[in-house]
């Protein structure tokens, strides 16, 4: 589903590369943690995956799209095949939970008569059926993140990218969101979660990719371990 082959990324404003010589592969149905300190390159990897940035060199493939060669008008097609979740939720403040989710369907040109059922289905999946008409400010952090996850899921993407999704949440909400991501993974969706919550990573027993200064220093799957 996701393949990085000798990928590097540098920014003109910085001398040190953000990513250097990254090679790994994530297959169907996997749940993978992306760990490392702040600035290690976790967010950069996610940005490459949803084509917010092109790689400086190397080959990035996500859901069959070659990111480096993607034209601007092809980016929306890629993003409709990805669910993306952020630490800061990125919900539209002036729309209800249901409207935020429906919005993701509307932009893809989904038939309007199918939208309410699909929205209700994902809200049920994230356990927020009762909060349909609530605005983001009326929801707790954990609930807002669930709405964001529901929005990411509503187009049935094969891959879900989560950038520190529990970074702003308390322990209880973190557990809830994490369990939700596992449930989603159980249905066959690839989940890639960037986090520096090591407790969560340890208890989960899932594959771990660890970054340090833009290099991959550990892969618990064992097939791509570089010198530590």
């Amino acid at each position: 589903m996701i393949r990085f082959n000798n990928v590097s990324k540098s920014y003109p404003t910085s001398t040190a590369p953000a990513l250097e010589g990254l090679t790994f592969h994530i297959g169907r149905g996997e749940f993978v943690f992306l760990t490392g300190h702040s600035g290690a390159g976790k967010s950069t990897i996610l940005k490459l995956m949803h084509a917010e940035e092109p790689p400086t060199s190397g080959d990035v493939r996500v859901s069959g799209f070659a990111i480096g060669k993607l034209r601007r008008d092809e980016v929306p097609r890629l993003r409709r095949r990805l669910g993306i979740v952020f630490q800061d939720f990125r919900l539209l403040e002036d729309r209800t939970a249901a409207e935020n989710i429906a919005f993701a369907l509307e932009v893809t040109g989904a038939r309007s008569d199918t939208i309410p059922t699909r929205v209700a289905r994902v809200l049920d999946q994230v356990g927020l059926s009762s909060k349909l008409d609530a605005f983001p400010r009326e929801l707790s952090g954990g609930e807002q993140q669930r709405v964001a996850i529901a929005r990411a899921l509503v187009n049935d993407p094969p891959v879900l990218l989560a950038d520190e999704p529990t970074g702003n949440l308390d322990e209880r909400a973190t557990q809830g969101v994490f369990q939700l991501l596992r449930d989603i993974n159980d249905t066959g969706t690839v989940v890639l979660m960037a986090t520096h919550d090591l407790d969560l990573v340890r208890q989960a027993g899932k594959r771990i990719l660890e970054l340090r200064d833009g290099r991959l220093v550990f892969d618990s799957a064992g097939d791509q371990v570089e010198a530590r």
């Binding site: 993003r79 409709r80 919900l91 993701a104 932009v107 309007s112 187009n155």
Partner: protein, 289 residues
Amino acid sequence: MKLLWREALLAFRRTRTLSILSVTTIAFALFVTGLFGLVAINLRQAIGSVEERVEVVAFVLRGTPSQSLVVAIEDISAFPEVSEVRYVSEDDALDRAREELVEFRDAYDDLQINPLPPSLEIRLNAGYRNAPSVADVAERLRGFAFVEEVRYGRDWVEQLDRLRNLAGLIGLSIGLAFALVSVVIIGITIRITVLQRAREIVIMRLVGATDWFIRGPFLLEGAIKGLLGGILAFLLCAAVFMVYRSQGFGLGIGLTFFEPVHAVAFLAFGILIGFFGSLVSVGRHLRKV
């Protein structure tokens, strides 16, 4: 389509103060342009009414047979420049002189013979009431054997030409300058709207919206603002016009307002700058995100 309208109107409602500000800014920019347009229209009209009086007079030798005159009048009427040829006989000329120059009425009564020659008065079509055309027509009239002299107030026609060119040039440059200023101001207000909604644009792109999907509501919103601004500016122009006409100021008489085609062009201009202002602002923003 329904979605497009919903998003555009939603944007309008959510940023009410900013929207009102944009509409007012557009309105004032268009208002100034419109006022200038009014001045230009009236100036042109004034010049036009003066122009209508541009006339070439060919004095005819006494005793020219009327047969030759009839043929000549037909020939002259066929000139492309000429709209009307009128024959003024000696008696007509004298009658007119008596009416117009009352002071000399007694003197005319004492005349044994009529000193005034017969003449042909030639009016020109619009578009030929300028110095070169008038001179050209005069030159051809001199070619007729029975024409004794041709008069047309050369200096006056040349001055009119200069006035018209000057008015046209000033009109064009000031009009263009104001139109440019309006476009820039409108571009800035729309840019503020776009920046205010930058977060929303980022989210739209994240969930897979195409650039045109993102642009659509902005363009519609810009066009609506342009239309509203245009209507407001038009009403302001009408109000100013009304005040001027009722107050008079010694020039109120004969002032003309926009014709329907101008009004439509005015609103269309508002819509267009709203639309293109949005297109540029959103386009520039989208290239960055």
